[in-house]
Symmetry: C2
Subunit: 506 residues, 2 copies
């Protein structure tokens, strides 16, 4: 955060303190039309079901934060408004990455979420002598969170309700009903705040550092209730209308075709598919790895160390078999397998990462994804299910998601099971012959096979853009099922043992 920006924010605070007041008479003249328009826009947003509205409310005690919440709930249809306030994390929340609780609270497309301080609670409570810095992880997480939601179409509005120190001091709770709204201006802060000067200085810092085009802060003077309410509701009205218009123009599906040719330098071509394993070596290695996994999973459970293992790969590459062999070594007590298919209708109303956030388990658990969030940059890209811009920005979104996992201590492993085209055909034929496995073969398999080269391009981009030090891609040669299974078991055992050792050394 640059001091210049923060002082600019402080200047806006000052001017907000001086906003002219609005008389009851003037407000009465404006209000009926405003309200009809707001309700109408809310219905349009609901019926369109295209995007959620996310509103963050924060401000000085006495400036009307709770009142704004109540006014929005009262003026609009409260059935499509959800209010969220976050106190100290519950135990279920504190066992997951910090943003898990915000993700799980997100409104579906068509609905509206009101957030008291939202994800700013911790930052706003900071000591202003140690302000958030430019490279601060928390700022990066907030920026990534808001950007990924905005990119997905969400309308994000953030309000800071301000008062001069004098007004703040003299404001009092009152039992008088407001003459126009008929509701009480309920001005208490919803939780204790630091002293005025400290709080306002911190807020100026935070606002300057998190004010973006897609998720802007609006500073509103809070001393005059009529003015404040009109200003906020009118801003909602304008924003709703503008966003509906903008989203009506948004592209619905793919415009640019995905590459049909394999890239010049193909990372998959570096995978040594000749790797294989004798029955005897397999039996021995299986026993060894099973033992290691068995011990490691008891230890991670006791240590509360969570892990997430994502499997991707060609159709018939042996994902299911590898997962089952991994399961042989684990006790079902603390792992779960999450199979990923096309999203259901609840999931479709949310950001594509929402269902993966939702699946993250409590401390000490192993969550295995059979296909994963990488569908975004694989099938959704190759089959043109989403616009080019959507899968292109997905690399950053996925990196941010994974970084939040690993930063919170989750062991993250990503496998691409690689086979060649001939091997795939052999396996399809085998499946057709085997009555116990015929169900595995679907029309999709042949469809995907036709897009082999497009997938190669997609896998290359994926590996290049989402391999990080804490979560590298593991390309597993899988023409030999035995070799692939042992590689997977060994990699998981290695990673868990390493993480356990690191934790003990802390």
């Amino acid at each position: 955060m640059s001091p210049a920006k923060a002082s600019a924010a402080a200047k806006i605070f000052k001017s907000a303190e001086k906003a002219a007041s609005l008389s009851d008479g003037e407000f009465r003249k404006l209000k009926d039309r405003l309200r009809v328009e707001l309700i109408d826009l809310q219905q349009k947003i609901r019926n369109r079901g295209q995007f959620p509205v996310i509103i963050v409310l924060a401000g000085v005690k006495g400036a009307g934060v709770i009142d704004t919440l109540n006014v929005i709930n009262t003026w609009m249809d409260p059935r499509w408004v959800e209010t969220h306030a976050f106190d100290a994390p519950s135990d279920e929340e504190s066992e997951r990455p910090p943003f898990w609780r915000y993700w799980r609270s997100l409104p579906a497309a068509g609905a509206m979420g009101l957030y008291l301080e939202g994800w700013y609670g911790e930052l706003l409570g900071l000591d202003p002598k140690r302000p958030v810095g430019r490279g601060d992880d928390r700022l990066r997480h907030i920026a990534a969170f808001e950007q990924t939601l905005a990119d997905d179409g969400a309308l994000i509005l953030k309000f800071w309700l301000h008062l001069s120190e004098r007004h703040h001091r003299t404001c009092q709770e009152t039992d008088d009903e407001d003459p126009v709204f008929g509701i009480r201006p309920a001005d208490h802060a919803w939780r204790p705040q630091p002293p005025y000067s400290v709080y306002v200085k911190t807020a100026a810092n935070v606002i300057a550092s998190t004010n973006t085009d897609r998720a802007p802060w609006h500073i509103v003077g809070g001393h005059d209730a009529n003015r404040r309410r009109f200003e906020i509701l009118d801003l909602l009205r304008k924003s709703f209308a503008a966003h509906l218009k903008r989203m009506a123009r948004a592209p619905k599906n793919g415009r640019a075709a995905a590459a049909r040719r394999a890239p010049a330098h193909d990372v998959l071509s570096t995978v040594d598919l000749s790797r294989t394993m004798s029955d005897k070596d397999y039996a021995r290695a299986f026993h060894v790895e099973q033992n290691r996994l068995y011990k490691a999973q008891r230890a991670v459970r006791e240590a509360g160390l969570s892990s997430v293992i994502a499997f991707e790969g060609w159709d018939a590459a042996g994902k299911g078999g590898a997962i089952r062999r991994l399961a042989y070594g684990l006790s079902a007590y603390n792992y779960k397998v999450v199979p990923i298919a096309a999203p259901n209708d609840e999931e479709r109303k949310h950001h594509y990462l929402w269902r993966f956030w939702r699946a993250l388990d409590r401390a000490g658990h192993i969550t295995i994804f059979d296909r994963s969030w990488y569908g975004r940059v694989l099938v959704e890209r190759v089959d043109n299910l989403i616009p080019r811009s959507a899968w292109q920005r997905a690399y950053d979104e996925i990196n941010a998601f994974e970084e939040e996992m690993t930063a919170s201590g989750i062991v993250l492993l990503k496998f691409w099971l690689h086979i060649d085209k001939d091997e795939q055909l052999r396996r399809f034929k085998d499946r057709r012959k085997d009555p116990a496995r015929r169900w595995k073969l679907t029309g999709d398999d042949f469809h995907n096979r036709k897009n082999w080269n497009a997938y190669v391009a997609a896998v290359n981009d994926m590996v290049k853009r989402t391999s990080s030090e804490s979560a590298p891609w593991r390309l597993v040669p899988a023409n030999s099922k035995k070799f692939a299974r042992i590689t997977v078991m060994e990699t998981v055992a290695d990673a868990l043992e390493r993480a356990l050792a690191a934790r003990q050394n802390r």
Copy 2:
């Protein structure tokens, strides 16, 4: 629980201790066919997507409970198997009725849930000198839970894995792999158990008290791993096949038409629809009730007292308006409104009560349902969306659900907003004229109006069969919107104040 039944259970324990063993050779001969059949049945269950499978596993340490879990996960496709073990409730769980955590863990139709001790953990840990008695609330809750799931089509199987005291003493954890399965028989109990004699005596009591046709206990001797595994897997095979057959014959939709004539004694006819309220009285009462609500909701938040308010009523009876006026008196900080429409596809894969369980909020919150679980005995009955038997048993299911809420301290209020047919027509016409409210009017409204008499019969049955002392129906005269709104506000304020006073007096 009768002593005779418990001793019968103890006898079955004894005979299980003597089960003959199965040699590796014999088992090998049986296993391949068994496994192919099991996988095939699992696929059928998954593709049919008609019912969930719920398997409870409990038993003496050393008898192979964890091993059974692992064998099922290993032999079948673990992607459609979910394992659940419940330790001490998390804080989010302990703030809701005790069965909330079981409801939220239930597998969707087509999937399989494995439960370590399931909802029996607490009972199995009891002192056998104070055994569960016939009228025990916990037994009633378990019985109601299992019955409602079974009635909804779920296949429920409960296993008690038994060992003689001698076997229990000599059993040891081993690192040796099983020669047939290739997995370790992992025999540790997943959590500490009372001494053998105590545990077994308690188990005999519990099993005798909870053994029902729809959710039977199977006692399996655990000393011989081959025999035990074969017995359990073969029982799964038979049960899967039988249940698939049974469910294929299950009726899909309504067979008996709902009553088209109003009942002889119509409880709705006792509602005095002439009740009305002057503008002046309304303004005064509104102010008074708003103040009461405002104070009460702060107090319930601090006391952690939860409440659930369900609104039902004729179309255009003013549910939305009443909810909005109620909201005027509340701070949006700790209430939420849950609008109930047709279930989404995730909800459709679950018991109809699942989504209402899921919506229950944490301690201190007010949850307002705009339409509710009563849709089961109203629209679903009247429109023949479900078989007659389904809505007929729903009264008991709903009573059990509501009793679990009130028993856990939730304040539960149920409103039926009543208007007459003429008033409804007037309101439909008004809506059509008003551009701001035209969206409220749908084809459903006129469809429902045609079924007026059938609804009267359904409402009468509903009121008669689901009014209890702790959760009576409140029939609100709503021809006058003002009168109805004040009645609702007053009733809520009364109930919250009463509950707060009762809590303070404890």
